[in-house]
Symmetry: C2
Subunit: 492 residues, 2 copies
Amino acid sequence: MSKHLTKRAEDYSKWYNELIVKADLAENSAVRGCMVIKPYGFAIWEKMQAELDRMFKETGHQNAYFPLFVPKSLFEAEEKNAEGFAKECAVVTHYRLQSDPDNEGKLRVDPAAKLEEELVVRPTSEAIIWNTYKGWIQSYRDLPLLINQWANVVRWEMRTRLFLRTAEFLWQEGHTAHATKNEALAEAKQMQEVYATFAENFMAMPVIKGAKSESERFAGADDTLTIEALMQDGKALQAGTSHFLGQNFAKAFDVKYASKEGKQEYVWATSWGVSTRLIGGLIMTHSDDAGLVLPPKLAPIQVVIVPIYKGDDQLQAIADRVDTIVKELRANGVSVKFDDRDTMRPGAKFAEYEMKGVPVRIAIGKRDLENGTAEIARRDTFEKQTVNQDDITTTVFKLLEEIQENLFTRALDYRNAHITEVNSFEEFKDVIENKGGFVSAHWDGTIETEDKIKELTKATIRCIPNDSKKEEGICVLTGSKSERRVLFAKAY
Amino acid sequence: MSKHLTKRAEDYSKWYNELIVKADLAENSAVRGCMVIKPYGFAIWEKMQAELDRMFKETGHQNAYFPLFVPKSLFEAEEKNAEGFAKECAVVTHYRLQSDPDNEGKLRVDPAAKLEEELVVRPTSEAIIWNTYKGWIQSYRDLPLLINQWANVVRWEMRTRLFLRTAEFLWQEGHTAHATKNEALAEAKQMQEVYATFAENFMAMPVIKGAKSESERFAGADDTLTIEALMQDGKALQAGTSHFLGQNFAKAFDVKYASKEGKQEYVWATSWGVSTRLIGGLIMTHSDDAGLVLPPKLAPIQVVIVPIYKGDDQLQAIADRVDTIVKELRANGVSVKFDDRDTMRPGAKFAEYEMKGVPVRIAIGKRDLENGTAEIARRDTFEKQTVNQDDITTTVFKLLEEIQENLFTRALDYRNAHITEVNSFEEFKDVIENKGGFVSAHWDGTIETEDKIKELTKATIRCIPNDSKKEEGICVLTGSKSERRVLFAKAY
């Protein structure tokens, strides 16, 4: 494979796909639409998981595990949910293969091993979980029920892209049950906040919090809250959603509780999830023409040390010195790699770690040994400085913080520069086509208008921002009255 | 559900099933053979995962993620592996449901959405992984490749039991590739050691390390190493296996590497796994007629504090005192729960935590407040002591260590008392039928004898122990010559 990475300005989509492969994050597999997440990509996901898991537990949630399969009769119990996912679900129909005498003994499905009831591979787990909750919830004392699951799900998408849209993906799905509508609404809101905090503080990816329009809601939800990020090519990415499910699943699965007053009431529900799609968002928020750029808080390797040497003696001398540096950094919680491979030149190593987005690179050569110095380079700005070896830990600490902050600020500036208020459909089209980003526009609130705008511009309503103010105006397409602006964008 | 737990002596199998439900570990789901792992059970699995994951990483492995589905043509590439799993695999044949006009619009498989090639839900991932490794391995520099995956797998077993044998289960599967046979053998051995260390040091479950006989090997392996534990009812449990796969998968998927000398060589492989089955082993190693008994190192809650009070004032006074105790224990890394529920009496709480296997229980009442004391009870022996409140942390620390050790010793004594050397088939049958446990016997090394013994006694060869000595003898069934004893037992 060529070492050259297509430039973003040339072909953003090609750049994205190449970067993922060259940075060793993931690759397509032999299964249509399914990816292999390679160790380096998976290490990023593990860091995300660890942080999110901590945040979920801090907010009172516990992990559990529910079956991969959903019997068809349960799958279709909540009508809207079933309708939304039936078109793209993998279905298990048989439980055995046998050798086929008509085809050289190759394996075929054994017709005698047909399931009585087909099993849907979960595209999301509301159905199987609410069917289980029925047995867990009797009284108000059993509520709230606050559960999360880390799992794989399958949605048979026709057009897939690594991380952004894959037939199988990894995610977490929270499923909670509450005694009152307000509690459920507060939970949905809380998890939107948790996602936003995670996106901004760890991924350094600014997000807009808002609610989806009716047609963009999760199938089966009464309200879908979202965090929307902006990618470098001006397209939006839905990065996480938190749904208020009302009593839809409680009614579909007959889940009632006895209130303190002894009345039987339907339970209120939420569900919320983020997935490996976040890694796609991370890539398209920060990376550049040299490769991946990672925020230090999610970087599997935060610092790489590359020795510049001739001959084994020099390498040994450098290695001895590096040993102390590595120990000190590790003792301070920094993840460090010392790359002493003798099969590759320093320049090639530099390029490799730039491609892999390692935030800080330290190079130590013969002269550095003599002078007690090291060269430290940061990935985000390519700036270099020569520091005293005794100051390495302090400098690295400072740099990791600065890089984390710089990535966020840079992305925020870009995002803020790409929210454009428009007041006519001409402007709307112009911004969507030429500038990209979010367009803040008045909309008459009808699905028809939303559909028409999508048809004409490919832009969809990303959200009605939480902080949108009431403002009298007229719909950018129809001229009908409107009371607030919403955000449109082309989206992944 | 009745609070009464069936006694082990009455019906061990019933006791096991009841305990799992009453201790809130897991339950059967609406999907045949698949279980729901409840939060308390899942918390034990998380503790196991964390420890194992640490051990895998310490031995140089990285995590990755491979697709859930295996296309049929890949599945059948390694013949023996395919043969071994074809009989019990879930098969996806369609990717869409549609509403059925002949059945009130209920969903049915859409005949137009039939997959060109069926997808097997992974029962194990050698096939999909080795097909991927083909692209990752070119030269000796790419080796060893040391990868692990945490995943769900599906084996359509006809007779299932919670944790021990479920159609879907959670596990980890390591898949490694090596340049030489010896390296692969050493890896398989190393992982057997890791599993044994984990079982003994964390689960407090003594295991015998050995190799499987040919007929008990993993389908596609040249050698299967195992750790075998003994349950309280005298039946053995295969708790983890590590396979030397030879070049079988390398040949099936044509995975070669260029050696230093530039020759193309097939790669050598291992795979190894443990699963949620371990939780079944944990239960049947330590638990008693009062419920679950957990080793402190894997207990989600290590200490529970129960207040004994009348009225809110007393509760408040106790809670204030407990607050300090809880903080001190937590600061020392002990997981503590203060159960101040006012809906349950102390006696009922005691029973609940006994059922859930919490290692240490602290009770504090009015008199304790006056005297500055607390009552501490240990779950494994039910022993109680009254200690000064200032000594709680020290006492808890000591107790947690003692309990961990006592559980191991108790299980080891039981296990050692249940390895019986026999020299005739009469003795063999007698021990298997009446005493249980492992029978150490001479075997002529043939599959026929192994099968015959299984047919006559239901006992199988659990392993040829790593530490078995060469010893001249005659096969317990056929009288043919034998050079070493092997261990037989009835097994789960």
